[in-house]
Every structure is written in structure tokens, then in C-alpha cells.
């Protein structure tokens, strides 16, 4: 039997989760806490195998508490339960050292599944939305170029000089220079060659475009 401690400042939530855990023969609920202070006392006294932790608690931040608990030991499973939306919450929980992350809109069975996983493998991390969140984070990486900057980059790669680019795009030379310097800034480059190398590496232009 896996011993579980429920930490949430809403009694109704704790109540609902307790019933769900008690229905499962694999779990026993050893206590409920409504604040960080209570949770720390109960963890010391009961040494639960898994802690279900709310993020917003009246006397502190649940994620800070997760960090503290994780720093104190690697063997306890910690499942973060939250009402907040946004990928950042998930990554914050991962960074704090949680073993699982469940949204409060998910059915109780998901909380139980996360608790099972956390008990078996407290050092790893599971979340229903993890793969999507990772993909979203990855797709966001790299500099974002405006359509105009993209045009300028293409013409730069074609080997055009500033005056040529200005003519091709019907813009003034000073505007062109501004676009180029912003492009260098975004790519972290000091000159044209560096900018084109970086752009190629990032897949912003293809190799046959490079000079």
C-alpha cells in the first residue's frame, strides 16, 4: 500500500481526492494538510511515500515547498496539482523536482495514475500534456523574423549590396540598413558572413542560398 498525503487549502478538493484514493486498494491516505506549515509537520510525522501538492497555498508557494522537499530527499513521490493554466506552470513543476503534474480539470483517475507513477519512480516526471508542451517550447526557439526581415535576409544571401536590396524592396537605404542591423541583432551576428552562417544553421535559409 502506498501512503499518500493530500495538501490543498480547499477542503472539498481534499475530500474528493481522499475518497478516490480510498477506493483504490493500492493507496492509503495518511493525512490531509491545508497549508505549507501543516504539510511539513505531517510529512515529518507520517513520512508518506507520495505527496499531492497544490500550487497556491495560504502560507506559501507549493512549488517552493516541492523544491525544499526534493532537496531533502529523492525518494518521496511528489505530484503537483494546479488550477493555473499555461505551459510555464508545468515546466516550473518539472524544474522544482516534482514527479508528476496534473491539472485540476482532469478526472481523479489521472491524479491516481500520477501518484502511482510517482511512487514507483519519484525521480522521473510525468504529465499528460508534457509532449505537447515540449513541442510548443521547441517550436518557439530561435529568433523570429518579420516578413520584411526575411525578405532582406534572402536578398543578403543572394549577395546583394544595401543599395540593391533597397531597390529590390522599394525601400530607402536607411530603412534597409535598419532592417539589416536588426537582423544581425536577432541572429547575434557581427557581419554578413556570420549572419548567413547562423541563418543557415537555424534553417532560416537553405544551403544553396549561401554565397
Amino acid at each position: 500500500m502506498t501512503s499518500v498525503l493530500l495538501v490543498d487549502d480547499h477542503e472539498l478538493i481534499r475530500h474528493g481526492l481522499r475518497r478516490a484514493f480510498e477506493r483504490d486498494p493500492g493507496f492509503t491516505v495518511v493525512g490531509e494538510a491545508g497549508s505549507v506549515a501543516e504539510a511539513l509537520v505531517m510529512i515529518r510525522a507520517e513520512k508518506p511515500e507520495v505527496v499531492i501538492m497544490d500550487v497556491r497555498l495560504p502560507d506559501g508557494d507549493g512549488l517552493d515547498t516541492v523544491k525544499k522537499l526534493r532537496a531533502a530527499g529523492e525518494t518521496m513521490g511528489i505530484v503537483v496539482l494546479t488550477m493555473y493554466a499555461g505551459d510555464q506552470q508545468l515546466f516550473d513543476a518539472l524544474e522544482a523536482g516534482a514527479s508528476g503534474f496534473v491539472n485540476k480539470d482532469a478526472p481523479a483517475e489521472e491524479v491516481l495514475a500520477a501518484a502511482r507513477h510517482a511512487a514507483a519512480s519519484p525521480g522521473s516526471f510525468s504529465a499528460a500534456d508534457l509532449a505537447d508542451a515540449m513541442r510548443r517550447k521547441a517550436s518557439q526557439g530561435g529568433p523570429k523574423l518579420s516578413p520584411r526581415e526575411r525578405d532582406v535576409l534572402k536578398l543578403l544571401a543572394d549577395g546583394l549590396a544595401v543599395s540593391g536590396i533597397a531597390k529590390a524592396l522599394f525601400i530607402s537605404e536607411s530603412t534597409t540598413k535598419t532592417h539589416i542591423s536588426k537582423l544581425y541583432e536577432k541572429l547575434g551576428a557581427g557581419n554578413r558572413a556570420q549572419a548567413l552562417m547562423t541563418a543557415m544553421r537555424l534553417g532560416l535559409i537553405t544551403a544553396d542560398k549561401a554565397p
Binding site: G16, D87, K104, D132, K144, S146
Partner: protein
């Protein structure tokens, strides 16, 4: 309260003295009498006169008790401090003096009655000492009381002052002929300068939080590209540091990191100041040589100083309003988060349990119903979570409108059925914080409308920010504006927000299907820049044509960010 505490402490102290002292047991009765007098005095202290009478009686009982319990050796002697202190605290100097005076008289009376075995000299000295000590204690209490009251008065007067200022502001905002909108004021200034001096480009910039200059008005070229970095080397930084007008025989440099400008012309930077504080800068330039002579500079200086106070007031007013809104949004978010959202989530768990019970009882029909109910409940809780996210989204947390918008879209994208195409074209300059916040909320509203009602496959979000101009376009290919939606709550809110930030809002059906929502700040609907660019720059006409052209680039350009599905 402190007076009562002192009475209790002294009574305990006196009893302790009695315990350790070599005094007869009958004295305990006298301690009891003083305690009773103290209690009565405490109760009578609720009003002024009662306090005076109560304390006088308390002191007389005390003097009699001292006389009966060993005179100068009496354990009750120090107790005098309590009523005199209470007198000072509750009735100021007079209260302390009366209590001490009554004590002195009562002691003199007991002294004057001849008694056996009494060392009158020692008794007189002890009585005088304690009366003086008690009087000093009372005076300290009275003084403390006065200080406390003075502090309270100062606080009250600060509030009174704030109240009168706010009432004035309220009246002023309702009566002003012009408006408090800083952008309108800044545009008015540029307009006035245009009547005085020739320029090819002019801008009014104000300093917002940190060291960045935010353009409030700009007229001239396509975009404001001057190098106005306050940390850099340019006439703007010089004007800011020296607080002096800067006149140069060249045009402004173009940023960022430009070479020193060499194109001949004239450029002028005038600090906008209130008292000895600079709040912003006016910059104008022209390719003409020596365009701004002494007389012209004086005239521009006057225009600037006339507009300065209005400009600053407008900026302050916007900041206060934004502060109030942000506070309120945070409060709402907290309330939803801690209240209804948690309650519904816990109801969800109850449905889960009921469903499990029904499954054990072998009732698949009920299980099916409950599963449907559970899905609906999860959907509602998810909506609430997103509302909380909406309410907590603030532009500055993400460092710019573009970043805030992409974070928002990434979060929304996870729960919506459509693909989001986001195009960002953002200058390194930023809009005023209040404008950024309003634009973000308009975008949120438009995206939410599309997500909830449109049933779209695609959502295109285009965000172009070139302060002081900005353009946001949100389009979907969903069901379009139904007859019921035209005046719905969401659209109403968007209109209000747009009006507040002086933005132009355009909501119309999109071709071939869906809805188009466009918000423009600063981009003049009709009038093109008055002066042609000196280098023959092609100034795009700002009409609907550009917008539709932009829309087509978006959908075909491979650089749009895609998110969720």
C-alpha cells in the same frame, strides 16, 4: 489598554512584595481593597469624568491601604504609578496631575492623624518619593499620548489632501476642453510645431519606466527610426543629460548602432520639462540647412512648455487607471481561482466517484451519463483556468506585447481546435505600458471569441508594432459574425477598450468566411504624412489595401508560428 495592563502588573508586583516581605496576613485584605478600587476605576474610565472620579477614589483607597499596611514599608507603595499613569494616558497632563495631587493630599491626611509607632519622617520621605515618581510616569504617558495623536493627525491630513486632489482630478477630467489622453496632446503639439517650423519628421517621446523613450506622436516618414537610445551618443541623450536644447547641422542618426550621421540638414531636440524635471523630448529634423534659427527655437520652446503639464498629467492619469485595472483583474483572478473553480473541480471528483460506484453496481447507462457529465465539468473547469490565465496575463511579465501575445496564444492553442498562425513584426521600441495592456486584452477577447463561437480551423494573428503606431489583426475562418453576436458582450468590451486607448477598431466579416478584427493605434486612417521623404522613400499608403496584402503574406509565408491543433 496599557493602563489596565500596568494596573495588573503592579498589583501582581505588590502581592509579590507582600509575600517576600515580613508583613502580617491582614494586609492581604488591603491588597484586595486596592484591587477592587482598581477594577472600579478601570470600568469608570470609559468616559472622561468617570475616569477622574474613579482614579481619585482609587488613589484614596490606596493611601488608606498604605497607611494601614506599614506606611513607608508598605508593599502597596509602588502601585500609585498605575492610576497616575492611567490619568496621563487618558486625560493628558491634567489627568496625571489630578491623580498625583489627590495622592499627595490623601497621604498628608494620613500623616496628620497621630498614630502609634510611626516614624513620620521616613513615611513622609517615602510618600513624597513615590508621589513624584508616579507624577513623572503620568507625564510620560501624557506625552506619549500626544505624540500618538499627532501621528494620527498627520495621516488623516495626508488622506484629506489626496482626497481633495482626486476630487479635483475627477472634476477636471470631466470639464477639460481638450482631453487627458497624452497621445492627443502630443499630436496637438506636433501639429502646433508644424505651423511654426518646417520639418520632414517630428516626434514627441516621453520616458516611461526604465530608461526607454516611448514615442507618443510621430509625423514624417514611414516609421520612426531615429536613434533615441538614452544610453547612447545622440542629441536625445545629450538633451536629456544636459537638460538643454540640442541643435545640430545634420539630420538625426538612424538606430540601432548607427555611424554618426553625416547627411546635412538641421535637427533640433527640445526637452519637455515640468519645473526642473524632464519628462520627455520633442525632436524635429529637416534636410534644409540652418532651418531653426533663434526666433524659431524660442517659439517652439514656448509651445513645448505650454503642452508639458497637460502631457505629464495625461501620462500620470493613464498610469493610475492602468494600476487600478490591473489590481482589479488580479483580485478577480484570485477570487475565481479560490472560489468557484475549486468548487467545480471538487464536484468533478464527486462525479468520478459516483461513476465508479455505478460501474461496480453494473449500471452502464448511468456510467455513460456520468462520463458525459464529467467531460462537460472538465470543460467548464478548463474554461475557468483559462479565464484565470487571461486575468493574470500582463504585458510586462513577458517583456513586450509580442512576447505576451505569443505566450497567450501558446496556452490557448493547447485547448482550441484550430491552428494558430502568428506573425510578429515588432520594433525594439515599446508602446506605452497602458496601450500595450489594452491591446493585449483586445487580442485576448478576439481570440477567445473565435475559440468559443466561431468553430474555425485557422486563426491568423498579425501584430505589427512600430511605436507610436501599432496594428493588430485577428482573423478566423469560422462561422463569422452571427446576427446575435454583433452586439454581444465581448464585442462591446473590445469597443470600450479600443475607445479608451484611442484605437480604431474594425470588426467585419472576412472574405470568404470568418471574422476580421483589426485594431490600429496611431496609424491615421486617411491623412498620409504631410511631407515627402527626402530620399524618395516609397511611403506606403495606409489603407485597407495594405491590410489585405499583409493577410495574404501571412497565410503563404512559411515563417508564421504554428501552435496547437
Amino acid at each position: 489598554m496599557p493602563a489596565r495592563l500596568l494596573r495588573v502588573i503592579l498589583l501582581i508586583g505588590c502581592t509579590a512584595l507582600w509575600l517576600v516581605g515580613d508583613t502580617p496576613t491582614e494586609d492581604l485584605a488591603w491588597i484586595g481593597a486596592v484591587t477592587a478600587a482598581a477594577l472600579a476605576a478601570s470600568l469608570l474610565e470609559r468616559n472622561h469624568l468617570g475616569g477622574l472620579v474613579g482614579r481619585s477614589a482609587e488613589v484614596i483607597v490606596w493611601a488608606t491601604a498604605v497607611n494601614a499596611t506599614g506606611h513607608d514599608l508598605s508593599p502597596l507603595l509602588p502601585y500609585l504609578l498605575a492610576p497616575v499613569f492611567a490619568g496621563g494616558l487618558l486625560a493628558r497632563f491634567a489627568g496625571a496631575a489630578i491623580a498625583a495631587g489627590v495622592a499627595a493630599i490623601a497621604l498628608l491626611v494620613t500623616l496628620s492623624v497621630p498614630q502609634d509607632e510611626l516614624d513620620t519622617k521616613d513615611y513622609s520621605i517615602a510618600a513624597a518619593q513615590w508621589t513624584v515618581i508616579a507624577l513623572l510616569g503620568g507625564l510620560v504617558a501624557a506625552w506619549a499620548r500626544r505624540l500618538q495623536q499627532a501621528a494620527g493627525d498627520a495621516q488623516v491630513s495626508a488622506y484629506a489632501e489626496a482626497h481633495s486632489l482626486l476630487s479635483q482630478l475627477y472634476t477636471v477630467t470631466r470639464q477639460l476642453p481638450g482631453s487627458l489622453d497624452p497621445r492627443t496632446t502630443a499630436e496637438g503639439l506636433v501639429e502646433a510645431v508644424a505651423r511654426t517650423a518646417r520639418f520632414s519628421a517630428a516626434a514627441v517621446l516621453i520616458r516611461t519606466d526604465g530608461d526607454r523613450l516611448t514615442p507618443l506622436a510621430f509625423r514624417g516618414e514611414d516609421r520612426l527610426e531615429w536613434d533615441t537610445e538614452l544610453a547612447g551618443e545622440n542629441p536625445f541623450a545629450d538633451a536629456w543629460d544636459s537638460e538643454e536644447v540640442q541643435l545640430r547641422p545634420v539630420v538625426f542618426g538612424r538606430g540601432p548602432n548607427p555611424l554618426p550621421p553625416t547627411d546635412p540638414g538641421s535637427s533640433l531636440v527640445v526637452p519637455i520639462r515640468i519645473g526642473d524635471r524632464i519628462t520627455g523630448l520633442l525632436g524635429i529634423e529637416t534636410p534644409e540647412i540652418d532651418a531653426y534659427d533663434e526666433a524659431c527655437r524660442t517659439e517652439i520652446g514656448e509651445l513645448v512648455s505650454n503642452a508639458a503639464l497637460r502631457l505629464e498629467t495625461g501620462v500620470l492619469f493613464d498610469q493610475i487607471r492602468e494600476l487600478a485595472t490591473t489590481e482589479e483583474r488580479r483580485r478577480l483572478a484570485r477570487e475565481i481561482h479560490d472560489g468557484i473553480a475549486q468548487e467545480l473541480a471538487s464536484l468533478g471528483y464527486i462525479i468520478d466517484e459516483t461513476s465508479a460506484v455505478a460501474a461496480e453496481a453494473g449500471q452502464p447507462d448511468i456510467v455513460e451519463d456520468l462520463t458525459g457529465l464529467r467531460q462537460e465539468m472538465s470543460r467548464i473547469v478548463k474554461e475557468l483556468r483559462l479565464s484565470i490565465f487571461d486575468l493574470r496575463s500582463e504585458v510586462d511579465r513577458f517583456g513586450g506585447l509580442g512576447a505576451a501575445l505569443s505566450e497567450y496564444i501558446r496556452t490557448i492553442g493547447t485547448t482550441s481546435g484550430f491552428t494558430v498562425h502568428l506573425t510578429l513584426d515588432e520594433s525594439s521600441r515599446r508602446l506605452p505600458a497602458e496601450t500595450e495592456a489594452e491591446l493585449l486584452r483586445i487580442a485576448q477577447e478576439a481570440i477567445n471569441n473565435a475559440r468559443k463561437h466561431a468553430g474555425a480551423d485557422n486563426l491568423w494573428v498579425t501584430c505589427r508594432i512600430h511605436p507610436p503606431d501599432a496594428e493588430l489583426v485577428i482573423e478566423d475562418d469560422g462561422a463569422g459574425l452571427g446576427p446575435g453576436r454583433a452586439d454581444s458582450y465581448g464585442l462591446e468590451i473590445m469597443k470600450e477598450r479600443a475607445a479608451r486607448t484611442r484605437a480604431m477598431l474594425e470588426i467585419r466579416p472576412r472574405n470568404p468566411r470568418g471574422t476580421y478584427v483589426g485594431v490600429r493605434v496611431g496609424l491615421p486612417g486617411g491623412s498620409p504624412p504631410p511631407v515627402a521623404d527626402r530620399r524618395g522613400t516609397l511611403v506606403p499608403a495606409r489603407t485597407g489595401a495594405e491590410t489585405s496584402a499583409a493577410a495574404s503574406t501571412m497565410s503563404s509565408s512559411g515563417q508564421s508560428e504554428e501552435s496547437g491543433s
